[in-house]
């Protein structure tokens, strides 16, 4: 089920009302919310629920065994087994086809006729988010950051529908304590939730989908058919599209959770105002950055083993971070570009000081360039796309709406936060009836911008 759809508009008010009605009786509320979340997930494909339940039970069994274990070596073996099983699940669904094709190619080149069997496997939506959260639970139990939770709490943590399919990646230690006692019905951040839902809808439906339709999809589909002006604008437009699409989703997710009394971590903080790559990764997909840092970069040794090891660890982290997005060389190249940039930045830290505006200019444009292999269907097309950047010709897709929206979104990230925050807080203080009417008005307006083919899925649903 996708948030900006009629199905969800029918689903959510019912679930919200029943959720608060049952909140005081946790033994009724938890099964209800679990069922609602599984219904939400089953709307995509009921079979995906089997995978979700399997991941939940598998991690819960491992977490309990780890908690009971007194021998450090046994505990370590179980956590390694749990992480391996989680990654194997991810690997089968997400990477099997990619690696089978690549390995078969190598076997063919070597003249060995032992092909790996091929299969068209359906990718469960949000599997990467589910698996990362499952790993975070089991590893945090291993690290004794948290105690194992009850099975229903773990099931709720992994399946809670606002963050189920595209994050933010909420850590077990942040969410499970919120299940310990009923949410306080006298302290609900209604204004903040509604404002986030409104902003998220505008970002996704009115901005991201419009840019995709008007310029990004045509140019990235057939870059050969367009000259530099269109290709350049499409590059900026894609940077804006992916930001609005993904941050729009997380805004809605966080807003829905707030209305239900739950708080999620922030996932974006105006990333295109970053003046360094370190800063970019503290502002872009913050919950993934944090996950990669805590579960990959630091276990690899972080920055404790000298310059070379730090550089190696940064590159490994970013390459795997790229591959997390999907089984394609474009994602690996995207990770490599960011990894290299972080390594270079690390090397020159303290030695070279750029003016902030120049740092921003360089970082922003490398980020925009790195999105090209990320978005292009394959590396050959990414190459074609980049070669068109120097091929001057007519601008056929420049419309006032596309140009204004693209540069306005970037400019708003560079503008001081305070005036916007003041405006937001004032809006959040409106009477609930006025908030509801405002939400209806915005939904009506953004719905009018949807084409007859409906709202396209969020980009991160496939990751």
């Amino acid at each position: 089920m996708v948030f900006p759809t009629v199905q969800f508009a029918v689903f959510f008010p019912i679930v919200l009302a029943l959720s608060w009605a049952l909140m005081r009786r946790q033994n009724a509320w938890k099964p209800f919310m679990l069922a609602a979340s599984y219904v939400f997930y089953a709307a995509a494909n009921p079979l995906f629920c089997v995978m979700l339940a399997g991941v939940t039970l598998g991690n819960q069994v491992c977490a309990r065994l780890i908690h009971r274990g007194e021998d450090a070596r046994v505990r370590k073996r179980i956590v390694v087994l749990a992480v391996t099983l989680n990654l194997a699940t991810l690997g089968v669904f997400k990477y099997y086809g990619f690696f089978a094709t690549e390995i078969n190619g190598l076997l063919d080149q070597a003249g060995l006729g032992l092909p790996i069997p091929l299969a068209a496997i359906a990718l469960p939506v949000g599997i990467s988010f589910i698996i990362f959260q499952a790993i975070s639970y089991t590893v945090d139990v291993y690290r004794r950051v948290i105690e194992p939770a009850t099975t229903i709490d773990v099931a709720l943590y992994l399946s809670f529908f606002p963050h189920l399919v595209a994050g933010p990646i909420v850590r077990a230690k942040e969410f499970i304590p919120q299940l310990a006692k009923p949410r306080d019905p006298r302290k609900v951040a209604v204004g903040a939730g509604v404002v986030l839902i409104i902003i998220g809808l505008v970002k996704k439906v009115a901005i991201a989908d419009t840019l995709a339709r008007e310029i990004v999809d045509p140019v990235f589909g057939v870059p050969q058919a367009y000259a530099a002006p269109d290709v350049i604008l499409a590059s900026y437009a894609y940077a804006v599209q992916i930001f609005c699409d993904f941050s729009g989703y997380t805004d809605i997710a966080i807003g829905l959770a707030l209305l239900m009394g739950f708080v999620f971590p922030q996932n974006f903080d105006r990333p295109y105002r970053a003046a360094s790559f370190g800063e970019f990764w503290r502002r872009w997909h913050m919950t993934l950055s944090r996950f990669l840092r805590d579960f990959l970069y630091i276990p690899l040794g972080g920055n404790r083993g000298g310059k070379l090891k730090t550089m190696r660890n940064l590159m490994i982290t970013m390459l795997l971070g790229g591959l997390w997005h999907g089984a394609a060389w474009g994602f690996v190249l995207w990770g490599a570009i960011h990894g290299t940039a972080l390594v270079v930045e690390h090397q020159f830290r303290g030695k070279v000081r750029l003016p902030r505006w120049l740092g921003w200019f360089v970082v922003f444009h490398i980020v925009v360039l790195a999105w090209i292999p990320f978005r292009a269907p394959d590396l050959a097309l990414a190459g074609d796309y980049i070669s068109r950047l120097g091929d001057w010709g007519p601008a056929t897709l420049w419309t006032p709406a596309v140009v204004i929206v693209t540069f306005l979104v970037i400019a708003l990230q560079l503008a001081p936060a305070r005036p916007m925050d003041t405006l937001r807080v004032r809006f959040e203080q409106l009477h609930p009836a006025a908030l509801g009417a405002s939400m209806a008005t915005v939904i009506l307006l953004v719905a009018a911008t949807v084409s007859s083919q409906g709202v396209p899925p969020f980009i991160y649903f496939s990751f």
């Binding site: 091929l118 050969q224 708080v263 503290r282 919950t287 972080g302």
Partner: protein, 351 residues
């Protein structure tokens, strides 16, 4: 990777304060109520377009009373008028719609049965000169190619556009996801084909559609005709023929209509068989301009579904996991077939 220890939480920043759970419910239900009043008709229409199942039932449970209310209040029309300037869709209310010239009952449309319509005259358009071994003189140039259909037309459209970009061919990609000839409530393909032809005057049209078919038709007597018997196929073929006639522009353009490779699931196979048979019959009067490209033979010979097949000597997955669509590798095969036919009909095409 030198991030702070903890991600900021959304409520760490200044907010407009806390209200109660009742306020949250009031707020959401006011929004929902206003949307029911203003968008009731759309909610009902969305439900009607959905495939049968629990989601459709749930949406219609809300949409039908909301639509009933919207029909009796002027609010929905006023809201539509106020927001219509934001719509990205083409206006398809013009000519050419399937309902503009009501489809006759199956027997009449088929020209069968006693007292049926008189036999249509057979013209030279019914024969493909190349099949008769006749040379047609100088081949025309392909300037504009329209690739259209439903989701099946993707990624075929992109691959054709890429392959033809070097030949100076302008490829118009117009895939309408979730639509079908038997599903007029989203897009009326009769109107759409007319609009596409008027706007673009394509020299060639590639059509690949059929992932959303199988919906019942209504004949001139408003009788419901379920998929997938001869009666249903007659109406499908009649509509497809009307579109073919529109796209061929009186003989000036060529149409390449791809049949459906057999889908994996048995109920869909039944629909695909009816659609393929209808396409074949629909094209008969226009063989000179309309080429039916048999994808069934290429991807599912003997009507047996397979996800992988040999490509360049290597087994390759050619279908998406849904068992309906072609993936990139499959679309690549379809692209090569379409290009081969385009090269036979048009001058100086590389690709």
């Amino acid at each position: 990777m030198s991030a702070t220890n903890r991600n900021p939480f959304i409520l760490d920043r200044p907010t407009g304060g806390r209200l109660s759970a009742r306020d949250a419910i009031v707020c959401v239900f006011i929004a929902a109520f206003l949307l029911l009043l203003l968008e009731g008709e759309s909610i009902r229409a969305t439900g009607e377009k959905m495939d049968p199942g629990i989601q459709r039932t749930a949406v219609l449970a809300v949409g039908e009373p909301a639509g009933w209310l919207a029909d009796r209040l002027p609010l929905a029309d006023a809201a539509d008028e106020l927001t219509s300037y934001l719509s990205p869709d083409d206006d398809l209310s013009g000519e050419g719609g399937f309902n503009a010239a009501p489809v006759a009952g199956p027997a009449a449309a088929a020209g069968g049965g006693t007292g049926g319509a008189a036999s249509a005259p057979i013209t030279t358009d019914s024969f493909d000169p190349t099949e008769l071994g006749v040379t047609t003189g100088k081949l025309p140039a392909l300037k504009t190619l329209l690739v259209t259909g439903d989701s099946l037309a993707q990624p075929l459209d992109v691959q054709l556009a890429r392959r033809l970009a070097g030949d100076g061919v302008q490829t118009v990609r117009d895939a309408r996801l979730g639509t079908g000839i038997s599903k007029v409530d989203i897009v009326d393909w009769g109107s759409l084909s007319t609009s596409q032809t008027k706007q673009r005057s394509p020299d060639a049209v590639v059509m690949f559609m059929g992932a959303n078919e199988g919906f019942p038709f209504r004949d001139a007597d408003n009788e419901r005709i379920e998929c997938c018997g001869p009666e249903w196929a007659v109406i499908y073929a009649t509509r497809a023929r009307k579109m073919m006639d529109t796209y061929r522009r009186g003989g000036e353009a060529r149409v390449y209509w791809l049949t459906l490779p057999m889908p994996r699931d048995a109920p869909r196979q039944k629909i695909a068989r009816a659609v393929n048979a209808a396409i074949d019959v629909a094209a008969q009067p226009y063989r000179s301009q309309v080429r039916v490209l048999d994808m069934n033979e290429v991807f599912t010979p003997g009507e047996r579904y397979r996800a992988a097949q040999a490509v360049g000597g290597r087994q390759t997955i050619v279908r998406r996991p849904d068992g309906i669509h072609l993936n990139d590798a499959g679309a690549n095969i379809a692209t090569a077939i379409v290009l081969a036919r385009l090269r036979a009909d048009f001058a100086k095409l590389g690709g």
